[in-house]
Amino acid sequence: MSFRLEARADASIALKLLVSLGAGLAALLLVAIPVLFAGGSPFTAYGLIIQGAFGSMFALSETLNRATPLILTGLAAAVAFRARLWNIGAEGQLYIGALSAVLVGSGLLQMPPMLLIPTVMIAGFVAGGLMMIIPTLLKQRFGADEVVITLLLNFVVILLVQMLVEGPLKDPLSMGWPQSVPLLAEAKFDKLVPRLRMHWGLVVGVAAAILLWVLVRKTVLGFEIKAVGENRAAARFAGIPVDATMLKVALISGGLAGLAGVSEVAGVKGYLSADLSPGFGYSGIVVAMLAGLSPVGTVFAAVFVAAVFVGADSMSRATGISNYLADLVVALSLLCVLIGGFFLRFRIRYERAAAPAAGA
């Protein structure tokens, strides 16, 4: 028996629900294995995951707080991947964005919050964007592979940040600990709810998703991005300025990742250090792909990934299981959802050998 794949034109809502449910169930079943291995009870664990992610205002706030940078890095990946620009460098762009936020917002400029916050955001966006424009130019000029270059730049940027926070940017009040001077209070994002960590970065992320949706669906640039991504040669032939479009995509993509950095610094941390991001840039790729590169879907995918992590992490604490379980649960859920997405795109047909006509 062999099987054959047939592309589905469009999946029905019922199928989508079914697949999401199936993926969720599969993930739960898989998660039971490590939980049992560590001597815990899977059913308690399931309850605790949900509770840890959504069970209280605090939990919800933490989930959304963690989703915030993922939305932005997810959008960064989504827009780049649409143009087949393989930006694996959101991590580095995030740090560069955060770095410029600190450069601009820690006292260099004195202005009221109404102006300072947008200034800081623009600085982070532009810096992140430039960070992606470099590999894009190298690709265009020299044919250098952007996957590798953006990946390598991540390491360079993090080392640069380390160097700066140990050197010129070091906070004299940090007692020697390598961290930068803090942002001015006027440059920081307000909390959405007092005493909870979620902040205006979330609004920025959601707004960015909506804007990107408009860009992709409604604008000429979105049209051009799609054409350039799907068939560069045909786009060029039809007169779409391929290189310029790619550079615009690079600016937007890197810029969004840079905004993620601004958001972490201005919304959560208050200053820059080399441990600002636990891999938000890489997770953004996963988020974007889970969302099928859809801008609005990215918001949901980011909340999903954040909720799984926060919930599982909280569960590990409540059950006394090693907290490395959290990443494991995220990995397992991710793989299940990925496979689920496959069933939405394809229908599987089983083939028997065609029966020979009798007596031929």
Partner: protein, 302 residues
């Protein structure tokens, strides 16, 4: 027996890391003695740190231990929100009333002493030192070690490198090899991996924080040890007795409190050197000698 209190620790590193392991082991020991119920999270990122603290706080622990170095502001904010919980956090900043106490591994005293041993022993007058990151609590120990070595051997030179990782023993080993190749005959093993290089090349090493002499027979000249037990036990007792205050528990790392000590392999180090170190140790204990705390980044002097 008094009632068992719940203690939570939030580590930014895995619990094997030398630094955290000293406290982790002390906490495990207290748990095994039935004094506390101990829960912990390890490898917690800066981003997650505040959430983890709050989750433990909501679970209702009596004492929370951790490292505030990279997360001073949120850690202090959490403490402010939970005045009924006692916080004992690694920090380079002062404690905050009423419940935020601080500590650090102030083992510069034994480091100085091991420096004396190394300074006396080196023949090439080159000592290699491999560190993780150049942060205050690493710099402080290296500087004390260097001061100790120079006090007995002004000719001593130091080769220093940082591998920019807490956990990359193969890399630390390579850095150590490089120092041997540059002429070092004694290695200061701030990280895992350095003593391995010393052992492989048949030279000597100085241990840091934990005693690994059994793992490297004939290699470890002396070690500056940190013992978290006095501080942890004191903190547990203080919490139980209601006398926990927002003070600096860092002093419990000092030799006079038994929080740190120097151990020597007299056969390797030589009786004279050990005697000199022990004499200095006595001065430290009686307060007549103070080891300077210098958090500046040290650099090679080859």
């Amino acid at each position: 027996a008094q009632d068992v209190i719940k203690v939570a620790a939030v580590w930014t590193v895995p619990v094997e890391q030398q630094w955290a392991s000293r406290l982790h082991n002390a906490l495990v020991a207290a748990q095994e003695r039935g004094e506390i119920e101990y829960v912990y999270s390890e490898n917690t990122t800066a981003t997650d740190y505040e959430r983890v603290m709050r989750e433990y706080a909501e679970q209702g622990v009596a004492l929370m231990i951790g490292e505030a170095f990279a997360v001073e502001a949120p850690a202090r904010a959490v403490a402010a929100d939970y005045p009924e919980i006692s916080f004992l956090m690694g920090s380079s900043l002062p404690p905050v009333e009423p419940n935020f106490a601080t500590f650090d591994n102030f083992i510069q005293e034994p480091s100085y002493l091991t420096g004396m041993i190394a300074g006396a022993k080196t023949e090439s007058n080159v000592i290699g030192m491999v560190g993780g990151f150049a942060i205050p609590e690493v710099n402080r120990l290296m500087n004390a070690f260097i001061a100790g070595a120079l006090s007995v051997n002004p000719e001593a030179k130091f080769s220093i490198s940082f591998i920019n990782s807490w956990y990359d023993p193969p890399k630390a080993k390579e850095a150590a090899f490089a120092m041997v190749d540059a002429g070092a005959d004694i290695l200061y093993a701030e990280r895992f991996g350095v003593s391995d290089a010393a052992k492989e090349r048949g030279i000597l090493a100085i241990g840091n924080v934990i005693d690994t002499s059994a793992d490297y027979p004939g290699t470890i000249l002396a070690s500056a040890l940190w013992d978290g037990t006095p501080m942890i036990d004191k903190a547990i007792a203080d919490v139980k007795g209601g006398s926990f205050t927002a003070s600096d528990y860092g002093i419990y790392a000092f030799m006079e409190y038994g929080g740190s000590s120097a151990v020597y392999d007299e056969a390797l180090a030589g009786a004279d050197a050990v005697a000199a170190a022990k004499a200095k140790e006595a001065e430290i204990l009686d307060g007549s000698f103070k080891v300077e705390i210098n958090d500046a980044e040290p650099s090679s002097t080859l």
